[in-house]
């Protein structure tokens, strides 16, 4: 049984991405007891899946590492991974939260020596790489995963591979008998830092993501750039594995479109500007980036990045929402069709690779979860007094970049602290 002590002066943070980690740390560093739960086997969230993130083009290995060190140094934070909320009852200052904790099959004895991963042969799609590569059935989610503990895929349980993994473990860290646990916590305030997921590109039929191999999404490009990623840090075409030097970036793929997501996802323009720096990093003057856009929304100080990108001779901007994409059968090049709205010329442009700057949507459907939160028409949490002691943080509240998500998380920590302070005062 997982041993967790919680009182109604405890703050529960749901989601272990950059926002959840920040909210948990800010509250804990103010002396509050915090329980941070994460659905996946490791903290890190979407930021850990990026190659670099703006404004300062940090590698997550640097930017996230600071937060991990703070967490390790803090006694006030209790982390539960592979944990999900199933039910919430009660009110501000006194919530009762039911959790389900999925079995990891690996105990804290694990030293991540990799012996089990080497022994196991069965492979599955690697979630961390959006299925672009395979991983073993016994695996470390990614290099800087926290906790640094292996996981055994539940699909492996009952197979000979699972026994093989157990037999090679020198530290007796594998327990194949582990069961799903349920847990009820009493907490005073809840911070929802449940983040986002990329919009399903298959829904944008005209862009052919489901049928043209060389149409990929921006999050997949991030994985390709990672030296430990599916292509070893190179931008390779899925169709033939050749380097793609002439890349088209399509903005508002799913965003600002009443057929898909009504809202502007806010980060995609800047993310694409950042991606042109990836192309330059790979190929120097040899690369070619073309940005198809409705209008560039590089918010506030990212305007500077926009001007820098405009000055780059390898980058060109074409003002047009691409109408549709077809494929050249001989070269497998995607062909973009549309009209340049600056001058109204029709174009039929072939590129080696197309990257859809995919929109952000909330990762959790709160209505389906049955949590009584004020949710806006886009599915994000509204800050509303009727939410009581529950607060949204980061991208659960709106489409935000890392900088703003962290600000939002800090604000939510402050709000949650006020709730548990009131509880403390009332209880004397």
């Amino acid at each position: 049984m997982t041993d967790v002590v919680a009182t109604n002066q405890t703050i529960l943070v749901v989601g272990g991405g950059i926002s959840g980690m920040t909210a948990a740390l800010e509250a804990a560093e103010c002396g509050k007891d915090v329980i941070l739960i994460e659905k996946k086997p490791s903290l890190g969230g979407r930021v850990a899946q990026l190659y670099k993130y703006f404004p300062k083009m940090c590698h997550p290995t640097c930017g996230m590492e600071i937060n991990l060190r703070r967490i390790k140094a803090n006694q006030k934070i209790r982390i539960l991974t592979m944990a999900e909320v199933t039910e919430i009852t009660g009110d501000s200052g006194n919530y009762s939260v039911n959790l389900t904790i999925s079995p990891r099959y690996v105990t804290e004895n694990c030293t991540s020596c990799a012996a089990c991963g080497d022994a196991v042969e069965t492979e599955f799609d690697d979630e961390h790489n959006y299925g672009l590569k395979k991983r073993k059935g016994a695996y470390l989610p990614f290099l800087m995963a926290y906790p640094q503990q292996y996981v055994i895929d539940p699909r492996l349980i009952g197979t000979a591979d699972a026994d093989k993994a157990k037999s090679v473990c020198k530290y007796d860290a594998i327990n194949l008998e582990m069961q799903e646990e349920t847990l009820t916590l009493n907490v005073g305030a809840i911070i929802w830092a449940t983040g986002w997921k990329p919009f399903d590109a298959n829904k944008i039929q005209a862009y052919g993501y489901d049928r043209i191999p060389n149409v990929i999404t921006s999050v997949e490009l991030e994985r390709m750039m990672d030296p430990t990623g599916p292509t070893g840090g190179k931008i390779l075409r899925p169709s033939d594995g050749k380097e793609a030097k002439d890349i088209a970036f399509i903005q508002c793929a799913g965003s600002r479109d009443r057929n898909y997501l009504k809202h502007c996802s806010r980060i995609c323009c800047t993310a694409t500007l950042k991606h042109t720096t990836y192309v330059r990093e790979q190929y120097g003057d040899e690369g070619k980036s073309t940005i198809y856009y409705i209008d560039i929304r590089a918010i506030d100080r990212f305007e500077d990045l926009y001007h820098k990108t405009k000055a780059d001779k390898t980058v060109s901007f074409l003002k047009s929402k691409v109408a549709n994409i077809t494929q050249d059968k001989t070269t497998a090049n995607p062909i973009l069709h549309g009209v340049n709205t600056e001058g109204y010329q029709r174009y039929t442009n072939a590129h080696e690779l197309v990257v859809l700057a995919i929109g952000m949507e909330p990762s959790v459907d709160f209505k389906q979860l049955g949590v009584n939160l004020s949710i806006n028409e886009h599915g994000f949490i509204e800050n509303d007094p009727s939410n009581g002691g529950m607060f949204g943080a980061g991208v659960a509240t709106d489409a935000l970049d890392v900088n703003r998500a962290v600000q939002s998380a800090t604000a939510s920590a402050l709000r949650a602290i006020q709730v548990v302070n009131q509880v403390a005062t009332a209880e004397g």
């Binding site: 005209a206 009443r258 003002k319 047009s320 109408a323 549709n324 549309g338």
Partner: protein, 201 residues
């Protein structure tokens, strides 16, 4: 404040063109123009027409043959990120231009549309035989004979399968109260004329 940016022509379109009130909501992304299968044959694609309306280019828009090129494939409506009823606006513009007598005279779609309307409004029902013949002979007697001969087989087939009634040539069927229909159409025209007059001089 925002009123001063809405020129007279935009107001006129909003008031008198079917679905015209949507024009100001276009965000000029160009997806309609890029999606139009007849796009290369238009002088001005839809999103350019919308911009021209907002720029007050009344004559250029209404005298254009562009909106007459629309085949109602609905690609633009399906893809428009702001759900503008673009197809309907194109037909609305075409109709409005025709009402004002500004539409290009020898435009084939216009010629056929006029024949269709004349045929339909007479009795309240489409007389397909007369409409077909008037369409065949639209561009002169010889062209009509040639087209009729070309379509001979289809015509015969329709006759045999009772899809075409040859006696329709003698007047044909109509709705129950064609006088009432004429009164409705007359009244509608009066209302439209009054709306049009507001923007004349």
């Amino acid at each position: 404040m925002s009123e001063q940016y809405r020129n007279n022509f935009l107001r006129e379109v909003e008031a008198n063109v079917e679905e015209g009130e949507w024009v100001k909501r276009c965000m000029q992304c160009g997806v309609c123009s890029g999606s139009c299968p007849l796009g290369p044959h238009w002088e001005h694609p839809p999103q350019e027409l919308f911009m021209m309306i907002r720029a007050g280019k009344r004559d250029e828009v209404l005298k254009s043959s562009s909106m007459w090129m629309c085949t109602s494939c609905y690609n633009c409506i399906a893809r428009c990120p702001r759900e503008l009823p673009i197809t309907h606006i194109m037909h609305g513009l075409a109709h409005y231009a025709e009402r004002l007598g500004l539409a290009p005279k020898n435009q084939q779609t216009n010629k056929f549309a006029q024949r269709f309307w004349n045929n339909l409004s007479k009795t309240g029902r489409v007389n397909e035989l007369k409409l077909t013949l008037s369409f065949y002979f639209m561009n002169g007697f010889m062209a009509g004979v040639k087209m009729s001969l070309n379509m001979q087989k289809v015509g015969l087939g329709m006759l045999l399968s009772k899809r075409l009634n040859p006696f329709e040539i003698l007047g044909g069927h109509g709705c129950k109260d064609s006088k009432g229909l004429q009164a409705i159409l007359k009244k509608a025209r009066e209302i439209e004329d009054a709306k049009i007059a507001k923007f004349q001089g």
